[in-house]
């Protein structure tokens, strides 16, 4: 019940009620955007973006740059570990 699911905003359905069509795990649902709207941005500007959906509400925008950064950091860990593995196996001498 507490688990939010990522979804992509497909279209704005009812601007007055802040309702959008959001695709969540391949299902399109009407989702309330009140928590992710602010006065500075028209709702339409969010179309195409991703939100974290929870019991019919978009609870936060998902930050694509931050997601990428996390994954990059993890991949760096990987290349670091690879190097270490090679060194431990003595492979760097052959290179």
């Amino acid at each position: 019940m507490c688990l939010g699911v990522p979804g992509q905003i497909i279209a704005i359905d009812d601007s007055d009620r802040s309702v959008a069509i959001v695709e969540v795990s391949s299902v399109r649902r009407r989702i309330n955007l009140a928590c992710v709207l602010n006065d500075a941005q028209p709702p339409e500007s969010l179309v195409g973006g991703w939100v974290l959906v929870h019991v019919g509400f978009a609870m936060n925008l998902i930050d694509a740059d931050e997601a990428r950064k996390t994954l990059e950091l993890l991949s760096e860990l990987q290349s670091f570990a690879d190097e270490q593995g090679m060194q431990e196996a003595g492979i760097d001498e052959i290179r």
């Binding site: 019940m1 507490c2 688990l3 939010g4 990522p6 009620r17 309330n32 009140a34 928590c35 992710v36 709207l37 602010n38 991703w50 974290l52 929870h54 019991v55 019919g56 509400f57 609870m59 936060n60 998902i62 930050d63 694509a64 931050e66 997601a67 990428r68 950064k69 996390t70 994954l71 993890l74 991949s75 860990l77 990987q78 570990a81």
Partner: protein, 372 residues
């Protein structure tokens, strides 16, 4: 990017596990084994069992499954309240699926429904409001439960009902708040803990500041984490790094969703509709100060606690002793004498066996799963 599969990559998970194992070999950590980490949120508990993370972690790390599953801490007497309201002939009672199977003193909502009461499962509180619009001659009571993650949606639904003047919609409010309960656990001192994996979706609403005291006053690292396997493993690694350097900070692993200040629109909606209760009862843990919210007087007309007569009896919770110990991390689910014998997901005795986010149910369901 779809923000799911990318964070389940088995290769990256392996690398993270190697790094964790490497970290565990550092002398400062070796000196303090075992490292006991509480994951606060039921969503994390679910992922940990689903992906078999516990068995993949190196020896010396113990995961303690915390009290962060709202269904698991729902008192029997509260289910009785729901049943008393649902028994009114003009009422349609609506709630989330997870709440349906929690045993009350006599029965669950699901059992009452099969006996003929009009009890409906909804996906969103907005669906309950829609029921009210469509059934003007009935009273629709929505049982709202959950932590700060669900609180804003209930608050916004109530505000919408008020704006539209819907007069046959009511809320039975059982929203709870996790921070006072963490404080109670730490004050209690029963549970030896080295740090926390913090609830990502509660934090996207409340932000990071509410946890500051855990690092400052109790010297425990607190890592706000996402829910995919890579998120949880990375959070464990960050936590171990803090421990190894004898640091204790609140750190945010889930930066793609959680901003340090949380979500202000959501906070504003919650503050407008709800106020703190002096104390609230948690199943298995008893009364905890300031751990729940109720509806503010301005919205009294929608408050099922004021509109309906609720049963007075508030019994002892003797039968849930084992659940309480599991919730506090004093007992592993399979150490409960009822686990898997009398108490199973299809015949739950305690609420921890009901929701897939409950430690006992997750443990039972995924006993043999190792996906990574």
């Amino acid at each position: 990017m779809r923000y799911v599969d990318e964070f389940r990559d088995p290769l990256l998970a392996r690398q993270l596990l190697d790094r964790i194992a490497q970290r565990m070999r550092s002398p400062s950590l070796k000196a303090r084994l075992p490292v006991r980490i509480m994951e606060v949120c039921g969503g994390h508990t679910h992922s940990i069992f689903r992906y078999g993370l516990e068995s993949l972690l190196p020896e010396g790390i113990e995961l303690i499954h915390g009290p962060g599953c709202p269904v698991c801490v729902l008192p029997r007497e509260r289910v009785d309240d729901c049943l008393a309201i649902a028994a009114q002939p003009d009422v349609i009672f609506a709630t989330f699926g997870d709440a349906m199977r929690v045993p009350g003193t006599q029965k669950s909502l699901q059992q009452a429904r099969s006996e003929g009461l009009d009890i409906r499962m909804v996906y969103s509180p907005l669906d309950a409001l829609e029921l009210a619009r469509k059934n003007p001659s009935r009273r629709i009571v929505f049982f709202g439960l959950g932590f700060e993650t669900t609180m804003p949606s209930t608050a916004l639904t109530l505000k919408q009902a008020a704006d539209e003047g819907v007069s046959n919609f009511f809320l039975l409010c059982h929203h709870i708040t996790i921070v006072p309960t963490l404080k109670a656990l730490l004050d209690d001192g029963d549970v030896a803990l080295d740090g926390f994996i913090g609830p990502g979706h509660v934090s996207m609403v409340i932000g990071l500041e509410p946890y500051a005291f855990i690092a400052r006053q109790f010297q425990k690292p607190f890592i706000v984490s996402g829910f995919e396997p890579l998120d949880i493993l990375q959070s464990i690694l960050i936590l171990l790094e803090q421990l190894a350097n004898t640091e204790a900070r609140v750190e945010n692993q889930y930066t793609r969703v959680v901003q340090p200040a949380g979500n202000r629109q959501a906070q504003a909606a919650v503050a407008e509709v709800f106020e703190l209760r002096e104390r609230f009862v948690w199943r298995g843990l008893g009364e905890i100060e300031h751990s729940g919210v109720r509806i503010r007087p301005a919205y009294a007309a929608f408050d099922a606690e004021r509109v309906f007569d609720l049963p007075a009896g508030r019994g002892e919770q003797g039968e849930d002793v084992h659940c309480g110990q599991v919730l506090k991390g004093l007992l592993h689910p399979h150490q409960c004498p009822l686990f898997g014998k009398v108490c199973t997901p299809s015949t739950p005795i305690g609420a921890l066996m009901v929701s897939s986010e409950g430690a006992c149910s997750a443990c039972y369901q995924y006993k043999r799963t190792e996906v990574l």
